[in-house]
């Protein structure tokens, strides 16, 4: 339930406020987290073994040199390989992952601690029914801003034999441009002019990124395994995303009730807080135990799933003004800009001949994380 008090505060124009807060929490925790999955429909399977880090200094602390293995209830096993970043992966073709089989994750750390998950059944998935968006307004609770944008939704329609618990992960790709093409640039205080390799270098970019949010839903309260308008991500007009073309890849996973509860606990703790009408944060219940010491608190979850995908690509929407990232062009002057910061990029307006400059993030589109080549499937 949305916190009515928060709502009421806004409603009465009470000048309520939300401010960043750092709790004075000093507690040493050094717990192990084992996260992994077997997903039919994904070629590369990943397992991550990490240690917790303090709130004040969050870090990815991989536990290296583990022996990581997934076995099924028929005795087949898949050994995982360690990657330089500390994750463990294994390529498993779909034919080797059978619907209805149960899988178990086994991890042995270099210190000899042995962790095992419960056996998780691989349930069949179902096609993504439909993905669509609506133009909606909303208030950013933290920033207090009113936003306009697109709210994406997914519909579910599955046979009753399919799982009642779903999770979606999203990946967005969008095309954007820098504020203006680079006419030339200065590298240092000598103010020597350099020219880009070609006129539109760093002007057009395509960016692909995963959306880091948990999208979960279940049909357990429904008569049929069907559900409409399950909210996915929200894209406001305050970013570059909707300027030219936006594409959303929806990966749909089925899962067990326990896995769903595990993720739901995480979601409640970090996405629906803020009022007094929320529940106490519950510790997500892991399905992984230390084989030799059942009292050890182990974090993480191992799950098995069947993935399906669908992509929705939308061109620029005509009636929707998109503001994009703020990028102002200012007229270049040696007095103001001669001392940098460098590199400094200049665009010469071909009509007036006036030279303009701006923040380099506004000129070099790759600085915002995009690439200058579109993905293969981009049209």
């Amino acid at each position: 339930m949305l916190a009515p008090a928060v709502f009421f505060a806004l409603l009465m124009n009470f000048s309520s406020c939300i401010e960043p807060y750092t709790a004075d929490v000093e507690e040493a925790t050094d717990l192990i987290s084992v996260e992994g999955s077997i997903i039919r429909g994904e070629l590369v399977q990943t397992v991550v073994v990490t240690r917790t880090s303090a709130m004040v200094n969050p870090q990815f602390l991989p536990v290296r040199d583990c022996m990581v293995e997934v076995v099924d209830d028929q005795g087949a096993g898949f050994l995982f390989n360690e990657n330089p970043d500390g994750t463990y992966t294994r390529t498993i073709p779909d034919e080797m992952l059978k619907i209805g089989r149960k899988y178990q994750l086994r991890v042995t750390t270099p210190r000899g601690e042995r962790y095992e998950s419960s056996y998780e059944r691989l349930n069949s998935g179902t096609e993504v029914d439909s993905v669509y968006y609506r133009v909606e307004d909303r208030i950013d609770k933290v920033a207090g801003e009113e936003l306009t944008g697109l709210q994406f939704y997914v519909d579910l329609e599955a046979a009753d034999s399919i799982s009642r618990y779903y999770r979606w992960s999203l990946e967005e790709t969008y095309e954007y441009t820098s504020v203006a093409p680079i006419s030339y640039y200065y590298l240092d205080e000598s103010l020597e002019q350099y020219y880009p390799e070609y006129d539109t270098e760093f002007f057009r970019c395509w960016k692909t990124a995963g959306i880091k949010d948990l999208f979960l839903s279940s049909t357990k309260n429904l008569v049929m395994n069907e559900k409409k308008m399950i909210p996915l991500n929200y894209v406001s007009t305050e970013s570059d995303r909707l300027k030219i073309k936006y594409s959303l890849l929806i990966r749909q996973y089925t899962m067990s009730e326990n896995a769903y509860r595990y993720w739901l606990n995480h979601k409640i703790a970090t996405q629906e807080a803020g009022g007094l009408y929320t529940q106490q944060p519950g510790q997500p219940v892991s399905n992984i135990v230390n084989v030799d010491d059942s009292t050890e608190q182990v974090l993480g979850f191992f799950w098995a799933s069947h993935k399906t995908e669908q992509r929705l690509t939308i061109p620029r929407i005509n009636d929707l003004p998109v503001f994009g990232d703020p990028c102002d062009l200012v007229e270049f002057s040696f007095a103001d800009h001669g001392k940098g910061p460098f590199p400094m990029y200049i665009w010469v307006d071909p009509m007036s001949g006036i030279r303009y400059t701006s923040n380099r993030f506004c000129f070099v589109c790759t600085l915002k994380g995009g690439e200058t080549q579109p993905p293969d499937w981009w049209e």
Binding site: Y21, E35, D213, N221, N265, Q271
Partner: protein, 891 residues
């Protein structure tokens, strides 16, 4: 110039002292006063045709009604001022009706009984009744003191008091907060009775007073008890101009809540469902409007409320933390009177007056929001589509059939509607009525009988997802009958005994699909009923000259009744779907389960001298109903549930000790109380349970124990220009749920602080009267932050951060601190003008401190950050206007 103003000037500028009744001279004016005029001339001219007279003695000017006879002053000369003002028309006028037993002489002598009555040497029973002279209502809690014997008593709810006196002559004084004290000679000849009317204090505006009803701070047998009158809370600053008795209650020691604007509160470490609210014997199951921002009682008709945090009188039970008893005004017997007001949120009116003069009175009130204009101003589509309204209404009738019988009827309702954009529609309502009959058998035995019924229900339409949309309804009916006897037995035993019976009828409602596209599975949560019967007896008496004792015993018996389907689980195993071994069906009204128990009360009061005492007490309470609530604050969709075959009734044992002292001359009361409370079978909830899923409740709840302890220090000042109280409380409240299986534990079975465990709490409530028309009030509130479970570590998966949490409620949100200020300006104070109005300017959170309402963590683009939410982050200024038609003195 008004005479009163003229007198005021003289009193200020000269050494003259005037004695008079405000009402007499209210409409009297003085004209053309010139320098050099004799005071006698001015007064004589002013009184022409008014029936008023005066005489002077030394520098004192006495104004009185009637013939210009100089009364012979009574022999107790020290008190002649008071004595003189006591000679008023009303006591003489009403004398006729008590002709046989009373005779108030010019010398202020009350004679009780007959001269030639048989004097067998035993003590005589004297019954007195004290009424408010301007409204005719009985005065509760007036103190009566017999000087010669240093003996005192206090008037009861009907204004009655009893004394046992040997024949002879005494001086008695009668005093009541807000009323003018009287002193009389009392001549006792034989058994008899008399009635006295006290007048409102001459120079008197609303003032902050906290007074103990029936029993004083030092002398009384109550501990953990507060009584607050509407009069006293008039000038306490409030948010948004709404007078609110429960917000005032939260300023008292031992009363906490989880956050401002949340409903429900916590008394001495108990959960909100451990408090019982009665308004004129009607039980009220939801006391808040708008999720708790306002209280569901219109302040206009409330006369006072009592809060029992400890030593709940034996006649009450059924809740283990506190009983809240709200009394409404009974209506003015002589005059019609109306009042009302507007604030930014609501408009309210109330009216009262005689239906049959001196016999039957009525009181009615209505309050409603008109706040939609605020919503419409907001430039957001979501909020524009929302709306919030509430209202409450009451009607009371009070019939004084004769001196021995009184009949009262009361109706109460409150309703809320709240729609949150297109997502949720909430509505909830209380409705109830009571009939009360007070009967007096004789001077020593009275009986109060009442029957009351109330219904609380809510509805909720959840439209967040079109496929999952549902409609939910819920209702609970509480019907209660009671008979309470009060017997003043020989030897000064105050004996109370009686019985009461409660029938609970719950319809936990249905979850049904809402809208054509909803695929929700319909669920019926079922109906349930139970009956709670109790008998009680208590005796208050003097064991030794300085040692008073109160012994009470309550026996309650509860039956959970069919129809019911009761699931049986494997003995000793956690109750869940895997341990079901069968089920049994019960027919309607068939007994499914019963619980019963004795609930003793003991209080000792040892006097250490005139104004000092120590007290100790023990008290046991049991409750048979609880609230399904796993959110931090009460939510409007929380359901009440009866204890049943699986969930056993929570039980509390409390011991306390206290020290009490009065500085009578300064009007200051000091109390220090320490308590410790053990609660068993307290209801807690498993993580993430959903009470509308249809899962059996016993699979969702866990029962544990709760330990609360605390020390409450309070200093009250009731008189003079500066009134109010200051209190400090240290308290803890820890819960332990340690079952034999992991899933029957919370926090790994270790004790954890309850959501409302706030160790330090400081309150200062003060009112300073500059003049009769202008006063300032201020609150200062400090409490420790409420406990919170915070993330203490981060781990990563799939490039996202996840949080690992501390043990439950290990940390606290920042401390809470607030200052409020209000300025109250009365219109002119002519007594008999038609209308009277006053303005109130309120500043809530004067310093604009950003108090944390909550602390939460939110993931944004995979990064988790902490935030602090403050609701009232700036001073909130409101101006409200109130009016009265008729007698402005009538509170």
């Amino acid at each position: 110039m008004a005479l009163e103003e003229f007198i005021g000037t003289l009193q200020r500028d000269t050494n003259l002292e005037f004695y008079y009744k405000s009402a007499w001279i209210d409409s009297v004016v003085v004209r053309n006063v010139r320098k050099g005029d004799l005071l006698e001339q001015v007064l004589a001219q002013a009184f022409r045709g008014t029936g008023l007279n005066f005489f002077t003695e030394d520098n004192q000017v006495f104004i009185f009604q009637g013939d210009p006879v100089v009364a012979s002053l009574p022999e107790y000369d020290d008190h002649r001022k008071k004595a003189f003002t006591g000679v008023d028309a009303t006591s003489e006028g009403n004398g006729d009706q008590y002709m046989t037993t009373i005779n108030i002489s010019r010398e202020n002598m009350i004679t009780v009984g007959e001269e030639h009555a048989n004097n067998n040497g035993r003590k005589k029973r004297v019954q007195g009744r004290i009424l408010n002279g301007s409204t005719g209502e009985p005065l509760i809690g007036a103190t009566i003191y017999v000087k010669q014997l240093s003996l005192g008593t206090i008037s009861d709810v009907d204004g009655n008091f009893f004394l046992e006196l040997a024949p002879g002559q005494y001086t008695i004084s009668m005093d009541h907060m807000a009323m003018k004290a009287l002193e009389y000679g009392l001549k006792v000849l034989s058994d008899g009775s008399f009635t006295i009317e006290l007048e409102n204090e001459l120079i008197e505006l609303e003032e902050i007073t906290v007074i103990d009803k029936r029993r004083g701070n030092v002398d009384g047998m109550l501990m953990g008890y507060e009584r607050i009158t509407t009069r006293s809370m008039k000038e306490i600053p409030v948010v948004m101009g709404e007078k609110d008795i429960l917000k005032v209650a939260q300023m008292l020691p031992g009363v906490q809540n989880v956050g401002e604007g949340s409903s429900g509160f916590n008394v001495r470490g108990g959960s909100p469902d451990q408090n019982m609210f009665y308004i004129n014997n009607i039980s009220v199951y939801n006391t808040s409007h708008l999720f708790g921002f306002f209280t569901a009682f219109s302040p206009d008709i409330i006369s006072d409320f009592s809060l029992y945090k400890n030593n709940v009188p034996a006649k009450y039970g059924g809740r283990i933390a506190s009983i809240f008893e709200i009394n409404t005004r009974e209506g003015n017997k002589n005059n019609f009177f109306a009042q009302g007001g507007i604030s930014p949120i609501t408009g309210h009116v109330s009216a009262e007056g005689p239906v049959i003069k001196e016999k039957v009175t009525f009181v009615a009130s209505y309050r409603s929001t008109y706040s939609d204009w605020i919503l419409n101003r907001i430039n957001d589509q979501d909020l524009k589509n929302s709306n919030a309204t509430f209202s409450d209404a009451t009607l009371g009738l009070n019939a004084e059939i004769n001196t021995d019988n009184r009949l009262r009827f009361f109706y109460y309702q409150s309703a809320d509607k709240f729609s949150l954009s297109t997502r949720n529609d909430y509505s909830y309502a209380n409705r109830g009525a009571s009939l009360l009959w007070d009967h007096r058998f004789n001077n020593n035995l009275t009986l109060d009988v009442s029957a009351a019924t109330s219904n609380y229900g809510f509805g909720n339409i959840d439209k967040n997802n079109v496929s999952e949309a549902y409609e939910q309804d819920y209702s609970i009916r509480h019907s209660e009958a009671r008979a309470d006897f009060t017997w003043l037995a020989p030897g000064n035993h105050l004996i109370e005994f009686g019985a009461n019976s409660v029938l609970y009828q719950l319809n936990r409602g249905n979850i049904i699909p809402y809208g054509p596209e909803s695929r929700r599975i319909p669920i019926s949560l079922g109906e349930e009923q139970g009956v709670e019967n109790s008998l009680y007896l208590s005796d208050e008496f003097s064991l030794l000259p300085r040692l008073n004792l109160l012994l009470g015993l309550r026996y309650s018996h509860y039956m959970y009744l069919g129809p019911a389907d009761v699931i049986r689980y494997d003995e000793g195993l956690p109750k869940n779907q895997f341990t079901v071994i069968g089920s049994e069906s019960y027919a309607p009204w068939e007994k499914v389960q019963s619980y019963s128990g004795f609930e003793p009360r003991v209080v000792l009061n040892y006097s250490l001298g005139n104004n000092t005492s120590v007290k100790a007490s023990y008290n046991r309470l049991q409750q048979y109903i609880f609230l399904l609530s796993n959110t931090i604050a009460l939510a409007p969709t929380d359901q009440w549930k009866l204890t049943d075959s699986h969930i056993t009734p929570p039980l509390s044992d409390q011991v306390s000790a206290g020290f009490y002292h009065d500085f009578q001359d300064q009007g200051i009361n000091i109390s220090v109380e320490a308590y410790k409370k053990w609660i068993s079978n307290v209801v807690e909830y498993k993580d993430g349970v959903d009470f509308i899923s249809g899962a059996p409740v016993e699979t969702q709840v866990l029962q544990g124990t709760q330990d609360s302890r605390g020390i409450e220090v309070m200093v009250k000042k009731n008189t003079n220009r500066l009134t109010g109280w200051v209190s400090y409380t240290w308290s803890r409240s820890m819960v332990t749920v340690d079952g034999s299986f992991d899933e029957m534990q919370i926090n790994d079975g270790s004790p954890f602080p309850s959501n409302y465990d706030r160790p330090h709490s400081f309150n200062l409530v003060s009112n300073y009267r500059i003049s009769r028309r202008l006063s300032f009030s201020s609150n200062i509130v400090y409490t420790s932050g409420r406990p919170v479970t915070l993330p203490i570590a981060v781990y990563y998966s799939e490039n996202q951060q996840y949080l690992y949490y501390s043990s439950r409620n290990k940390y606290r949100i920042p401390d809470y601190f607030r200052i409020d200020l209000s300025v109250n300006l009365e219109g002119n104070l002519k007594f008999k003008k038609l209308a009277h109005s006053f303005w109130m300017l309120n500043i809530y959170n004067l310093t604009g401190r950003e108090n944390a309402y909550s602390v939460f963590y939110e993931a944004r683009a995979g990064q988790i950050k902490g935030y602090r939410l403050s609701i009232f982050a700036q001073p909130i200024v409101t101006l409200s206007w109130n009016f009265k038609f008729g007698n402005y003195n009538s509170e």
